[in-house]
């Protein structure tokens, strides 16, 4: 018999706070969540199957469409994995490496700005949305100036970059970098000490460090729980090892700490960008592509490589048969998919309105969850 105190409710898939087409089957007692079961797959497009049927360079635009608010890092993960399999990681010119780092960090900023806007609006704070989108617009303009696209950038190539930076791009970036810290202060003045914001986020969705690792959670949710692990530091790629930045950590592992982590990460990204500008000015213009064959045909074998995307560890596992120009198998390890799995553990015992905060704090993109 159905317990009259318990109800089953579908949260989503058509709900604005699920950030896409996530459906959560809730068992609730009044407003309190007894159990939550995420149901995914509504945005499944068979990306991994498509990868098997197209040449490696053709896959790059498809990676854009997984985490569609952070496509530069998706590109980066894919091209680095293929480069690692081909053994040409060391041949990437320094200018291309710096451009990749800059685009990734700009992408991290833009992804975190979108996260902040939607997370705040879910919880009920409308104002930060307008402020964050003001800066996000500048970042997207920078992307547009570089590659012509604003969201699905397709901005990296196996062996380097497609184009050199356009004239004046670095000046625009410098102007943005100069005033971005003040903008973060502005967002923080709206939220960090806001009593309502604190009430809605402190102590919500606590994830202990052990649980976080057990669930495979990565990125800001892992660091919010106090685990000092960032792939840019642990297994540095490109030229991150020579850049000076810190990994912000939380203490309590709750929604508020994850919020603080991401805010601090944006400041660190700004720091990285400001270091990159003089470095890239010292490199010869136009040296952006390694001298490799146009036909990408990696040797037979398998490789796993991952990078720190704005959401967490984004990994690619590629099996190549050494004969064809397309991957025999390409598996994506999406951070959103894995992080979302921890949602039931975080949601138990909280109110339905807190679930909205939790979905926001995990920072999922359903295009990446379902691929």
């Amino acid at each position: 018999m159905l317990d009259v105190h318990e109800m089953e409710v579908n949260f989503g898939p058509q709900h604005p706070s699920t950030h896409g087409v996530l459906r959560v089957l809730l068992r609730i007692d009044g407003e309190r969540i007894i159990d939550a079961k995420p149901i995914i797959g509504y945005l499944h497009r068979g990306t991994e199957k498509l990868f098997e049927h197209m040449a490696y360079p053709q896959c790059i635009p498809h990676t854009d469409r997984m985490d569609y608010v952070a496509s530069a890092t998706n590109n980066l993960g894919f091209v680095e994995t293929v480069e690692k399999l081909m053994g040409i990681t060391g041949q990437i010119p320094r200018r291309a490496q710096l451009m990749r780092v800059m685009l990734s960090e700009l992408q991290r900023i833009s992804s975190h700005l979108l996260w902040l806007a939607t997370h705040a609006i879910d919880i009920g704070a409308m104002t930060p949305f307008f402020y964050t989108f003001r800066e996000r617009e500048v970042v997207l303009d920078l992307f547009e100036n570089y590659c012509g696209a604003r969201l699905t950038l397709n901005c990296m190539r196996i062996g380097g970059m497609p184009d050199d930076l356009p004239a004046g791009w670095l000046d625009d970036l410098e102007a943005f970098v100069d005033r971005f810290d003040a903008a973060i202060d502005e967002y923080e003045s709206l939220l960090t000490n806001n009593r309502i914001w604190k009430r809605r986020t402190i102590g919500i969705g606590v994830l202990s460090p052990e649980d976080a690792i057990e669930w495979g959670v990565t990125g800001p949710p892992l660091r919010g729980s106090g685990v000092n692990w960032d792939l840019r530091k642990a297994l540095p790629y490109e030229c991150y090892s020579e850049l000076d930045f810190e990994v912000p950590l939380g203490i309590n592992g709750d929604t508020y700490d994850r919020y603080l982590c991401r805010m601090a990460e944006m400041r660190q990204s700004r720091r990285i960008l400001s270091q990159c500008i003089p470095l890239i000015k010292a490199t010869p213009a136009g040296d952006i592509k390694a001298k490799i064959s146009r036909v990408v045909r990696p040797p037979e074998g398998e490789v796993y490589h991952s990078i720190e995307s704005p959401k967490g560890e984004l990994g690619y596992y590629i099996v190549s048969d050494g004969k064809s120009q397309s991957a025999y198998r390409c598996h994506v390890r999406p951070p959103s998919f894995v992080n979302l799995q921890a949602l039931p553990a975080m949601a138990k015992g909280h109110l339905v309105s807190d679930l909205v905060a939790l979905i926001g704090t995990i920072d999922i993109v359903l295009g990446e969850v379902d691929r």
Partner: protein, 255 residues
Amino acid sequence: MADETTEQPGQPAAAPAAPAAPAARSLDDIKRDPLVAAAVARVDDAITGAREQVGEITLVVDRDRIVEVCRAFKSDGFVYLVDLCGVDYSKFPGNTNPRFAVAYTLYSFQKNGRVRLKVFTDEETAVPSVTSVWKTANWHERETFDMLGIQFSGHPNLERILMWEGFNGHPLRKDFPVRGIDTGARIYPEVFPEGGGPKAGSTGKDVKDVNIYKGEWKNYGLWPVAQIGGGNGAKAPAPAPAPKPVAAAPSEDEG
């Protein structure tokens, strides 16, 4: 792996010679690698093969002992299961192993290194689930089952995760057509019983026959044209649908 180089056809001598690849290490040498030596020592006989490529160690593990091996690695610091996925090797050139492989990527925070475990299996034989070792394996194994049809024994709820229940076939198998199959999804799923769509590997020619619904059209079929395009001057009023009892209406017993 012995003398693989990165030379590419079509552009001779463009790429500088790849740094002299170190000679491939033997199975015993890889087992003695400081990254894995301690864990391997506990389950030495369960590891049947090894390969090293681009600095990554892959250990082939006896399928039935994968849980034991994973526990050994976990207690040796590999506490983070990065990834778990399957590969269909049926069209791989020169493959002599069973059809499917499951690859486990583990990471150790102390050693700051990854190791990949690999088991081989065929269509029928289930791989022991490692959900008891890592909670995060749950969705990974569900996805592997959904996409490739690899069975995992001991999994708490091995059901489809990305495709819908009742979908017929496993899309990442090599015999599944890339353009997809007609699943009859335009009709409500109740029309088709579990797995009622065309089989994987279908050429598409037989799809129409398979999908013709032979039973009786219920209310959820097509709307009668008269009811939709009837307009206000229609003489025949649409028959009022009989009110159906709503299943399990929790209305009368609210305290």
